[in-house]
Point group: C2
């Protein structure tokens, strides 16, 4: 907990086993093939950049969303129950995976969703090996200490509009904290602060770099406005109930409420 | 020479001293500020992507073009005299430096310039530190063995049109040879084969990554067609006469024929 407070992130190499990750990976092609609003594609064409809310309609990912190895450390850091604020599977596909500019996630959660404080945790789980060539996440250690930084809305660089931090601020932050890019095998997990400044370059390598990105929000800190569609910023603040530790490899009943399509009122502002 | 033949490249960390590199670096801002056709800018705006032919109008770079530490190894590998086919200073600027797709240089030299064989050597000299975050050159070891690979003309991805190798070929080459990205301090030099497949990602870091890229062609292998402007593909096949080893730090007379502007007949096809 001291290290998280100081650096803004924690890295757990190989937290999930190869077997467990295979269960998730086997599901991704079918998810990405679906024509539903939850799939946002790259500007170059048909390749999926990000898939939203798979835990609402995919059995393996619904179990991952309740995995104690992922949820318990977050509860420990916040000292209270958490709910799922956002659930994404980012493609960062071989050759086509585009960059993500320098940004903080909490800036968006505050501005769009009226989330009161930065008490939501980002979780990255590697489904592919992450190496120096396939566009690893880059972080500026210590950058979470400054709260929400000024940002500009960049709608042109990639297919996904983003609040991007200005270059002079990045220069100063990096001078103080440097840059780190955790790399490791599939099944590795990163926890990082909602104000942690991060980016990733495009993936020119022939290796996919699919990762699950979750944002788990402290229940008392739930969002106050439903400006974004429900599949992007969830509106159900029920505390996550963890499944047993072997949940990815054994059968457990989980609800899949969007299995037959996204409810209409989750597709638009409320 | 055996290693060059096997791998397709040689890396010489810190071949030039800090003092020597400072002489070159001090000149770059003034070069990039010039409004002349030799400066190609990034699609994002005013930042220079590549500067051509500085050795024809910049005193320090005219000396670098004749440096024995750079020229002699190339002559040794080809077993004959060489001339300067192309001279570039690539910006890869902090934040703005865009990617270069996977390509071979000799493909262009053959198609556009009718260069008979791949007997021209690429030379990269680092003017800034190169690290994993500022878009290092990526190479596929052994990829020079296959001659000219099929390529498609990509005019859309960046501001600079390029003959780009298809993804399936890259996948196969990487499966066999992997990817390497030499990193090191300013003054490091890479020699690489004209058929060597290479690329680099965008530079999101706050660190510039300026490099000099030279192509030295064996004199007997000179180009047969002047389709491209002379400042891009030179038409003077005079063998390079080396200066002494201390040339970057002492005064030596060198010609600067384009000091007052590029001759008209070097700006267009002949």
């Amino acid at each position: 907990m001291e290290r998280f407070d100081r650096d803004g992130y924690l890295f757990f190499p190989s937290l999930f086993t190869e077997q467990e990750i295979r269960v998730l990976n086997d599901e991704v092609p079918a998810l990405y093939a679906q024509r539903r609003p939850e799939n946002v594609r790259e500007k170059t064409g048909d390749v999926v950049r990000t898939n939203f809310a798979a835990h609402m309609y995919s059995y393996p990912f619904a179990k991952l969303a309740r995995h104690p190895r992922m949820v318990e450390p977050v509860k420990q850091l916040f000292g209270e129950d958490v709910y799922m604020h956002q659930f994404k599977i980012n493609g960062k596909a071989a050759f086509d995976g585009d960059l993500w500019q320098w940004h903080q996630d909490y800036g968006t959660w505050r501005a769009d969703d009226l989330m009161p404080e930065a008490r939501a945790m980002n979780v990255a789980i590697f489904l592919d090996p992450v190496n120096e060539f396939n566009g690893p996440l880059m972080f500026i250690p210590g950058s979470h200490k400054l709260g929400v930084l000024d940002a500009e809305h960049d709608t042109g660089t990639t297919s996904y509009p983003l609040w991007v931090i200005n270059q002079e601020t990045i220069r100063q932050l990096v001078e103080r904290g440097g840059i780190v890019a955790p790399k490791g095998p599939p099944g590795s997990m990163i926890l990082f602060h909602g104000c942690f400044v991060h980016a990733s370059t495009s993936n020119l390598s022939p290796w996919n770099r699919v990762s699950v990105y979750l944002s788990l929000c402290a229940v008392s800190n739930h969002i106050r406005r439903f400006k974004r569609p429900g599949y992007i910023a969830h509106r159900d603040f029920t505390p996550i109930q963890c499944l047993p530790d072997d949940c990815l490899l054994r059968h457990y009943d989980v609800p899949l409420p969007w299995k037959n399509g996204t409810p209409n009122d989750e597709l638009k502002a409320a």
